[in-house]
């Protein structure tokens, strides 16, 4: 569904992405992991068109995303730090996004709004919200439009365990419907039950891109976190 070909991106002298090649297919649930500053967020932002790579090409369903914007209707994005207009209320944000994104055949998936009980605090202004509540709003927005691709940047950071569980269940549910899900996270233990594939990035390069089963077999470890740390040691 998403294909990256020889993507490179520089920020001034710092090379954030070095010649990245990647293919993601429908129904996959991919974890994107790596140390801080390894280029995970830049990679995600390139797919979303927020960052424009200098070299290479990104294809979405076989079409280049350059000068295209309609493909983003099929992506739900949850940013690392959700930043919203301060003097709007939660309810207004949802109304506005629905208004901006609505199309003829749009049905809204309000499951997360209900499960997070956001409706109770619909009249709260965005600037008064805690980090965790903002995360809830971001998550609910990402899932709201029934997008075929979900890109979640550190989805559970800052969420309480109960809400994190709600979100995880939602991710599994949507993945079973055949949606492509890309997650970045540092908390490996919670990825265990979610993901089917794993990408490990370091210094702007993809070190490995493997199926979880393969990964566990190769390293001889049953737990994902241990499997990864074994492989990381080997890579170094």
């Amino acid at each position: 569904m998403i294909e990256l070909k020889n993507i490179s991106k520089n920020f001034a002298k710092f090379q954030a992405l070095k010649d990245i090649n990647l293919t993601c297919e429908k129904g996959q649930c991919i974890a994107l992991i790596g140390p801080n500053g390894s280029g995970k967020t830049t990679l995600i932002k390139s797919i979303l068109g927020m960052v424009v790579p200098e070299k290479g090409e990104i294809l979405f369903k076989g079409k280049s995303i350059k000068n295209d914007f309609e493909y983003r209707a099929e992506i739900g994005y949850m940013p690392q730090i959700g930043r919203y207009p301060d003097n709007m209320t939660i309810g207004q944000i949802f109304e506005m996004m629905k208004d901006i994104r609505k199309s003829k055949d749009s049905t809204f998936d309000e499951e997360l709004i209900n499960n997070f009980e956001l409706k109770k605090i619909f009249d709260k202004r965005m600037r008064t919200l805690s980090g965790g509540t903002r995360q809830k709003v971001s998550a609910a927005l990402a899932f709201l439009f029934n997008a075929n691709v979900l890109i979640l940047d550190e989805p559970t950071a800052g969420l309480d365990p109960l809400s994190a569980d709600i979100l995880k269940e939602k991710i599994i549910k949507e993945n079973k419907k055949g949606k492509l899900i890309i997650i970045t996270s540092h908390i490996l233990s919670e990825l265990d039950e979610l993901i089917s594939h794993l990408i490990y990035m370091q210094d702007g390069k993809i070190r490995f891109y493997k199926k979880i089963d393969e990964l566990k077999n190769e390293s001889g470890q049953a737990k994902l976190s241990k499997a990864i740390s074994t492989l990381m040691h080997e890579a170094i």
Binding site: K45, M50, V52, F69, I75, R83, P85, I100
Partner: protein, 255 residues
């Protein structure tokens, strides 16, 4: 109707600065007209205030607003919307709100006290100046990531157009006093939208006689319909060109 434009306008019009700006213009305009017996004199004083305040507020407010809504812009960019569309909505939102503010604060009182073509031209130039300085502000913000630097740039640009440019022109005039510079002065005045607006309105006020020979040359050109058209065209270019450049830059900007 353009949805993003609508949300920008709602947000801007709720801003206290815009409300305060409207009230300020309203009070100043009314006071000037009630103090002066002669409305032409009132118009002249008002012109000087407009040429100072309108560009200042337009450029500073727009710059700060663009930086403050960077979150909102980021949110919009990952939606299925064209970048050009987002940027132009931001521009039209700002330009529309500031023009509306100016029309309510200044336009209505002027058209009550001085419902002549001169009053109308003053109102039109005020609106054009608002649009021009919004356009310049957007250009200043798109090239600068840092908020403090961006606002600094905006202030410098305003200083240049409002004060420094005139100083430079005076310096030129004194240096080349022996040469006939009148024709050239017309071209030079086109390089500054504030000067251009001043000339357009001053020539209507019959005080151009005070400006000596240059004034006469100016009147010969800008006083005609053709000259007026050229001046309006130059002002429109001042709004369009920076906007085009900033739109182009915004399309490839990293966020």
């Amino acid at each position: 109707m353009n949805k993003v434009f609508k949300y920008f306008v709602i947000d801007i019009l709720r801003n206290k600065t815009v409300i305060f700006y409207t009230l300020f213009l309203f009070i100043v305009t009314f006071t000037l007209f009630s103090f002066e017996e002669n409305t032409a004199k009132g118009l002249l004083s008002l012109l000087n205030i407009i040429l100072f305040i309108v560009p200042l507020i337009s450029i500073i407010f727009s710059t700060i607003y663009v930086y403050n809504c960077s979150e909102f812009i980021e949110l919009l960019i990952c939606q299925p919307l064209k970048r050009k569309y987002i940027w132009l909505s931001l521009f039209t939102g700002l330009a529309f709100s500031l023009c509306l503010s100016f029309l309510i604060g200044c336009g209505i009182p002027v058209l009550i006290y001085e419902p002549t073509s001169t009053g109308l031209i003053l109102v039109i130039t005020g609106c054009l100046l608002s649009v021009i300085f919004v356009s310049i502000a957007l250009l200043a913000t798109v090239t600068t990531r840092d908020k403090a630097k961006g606002i600094g740039k905006a202030i410098l640009l305003w200083l240049y157009f409002a004060l420094i440019f005139d100083g430079l022109v005076l310096f030129l005039l004194f240096q080349f006093a022996e040469y006939p510079l009148e024709k050239m002065m017309m071209a030079i005045s086109g390089l500054n939208p504030i000067d251009l607006s001043r000339i357009i309105v001053l020539l209507r006020l019959d005080v151009s006689a005070l400006m000596g020979y240059t004034g006469a040359v100016f009147k010969d050109f800008f006083g005609t319909t053709l000259g007026f058209g050229v001046a309006l065209l130059a002002l429109s270019l001042w709004a369009i060109v920076p906007l085009l450049i900033s739109t182009k830059k915004f399309r490839t900007k990293d966020l």
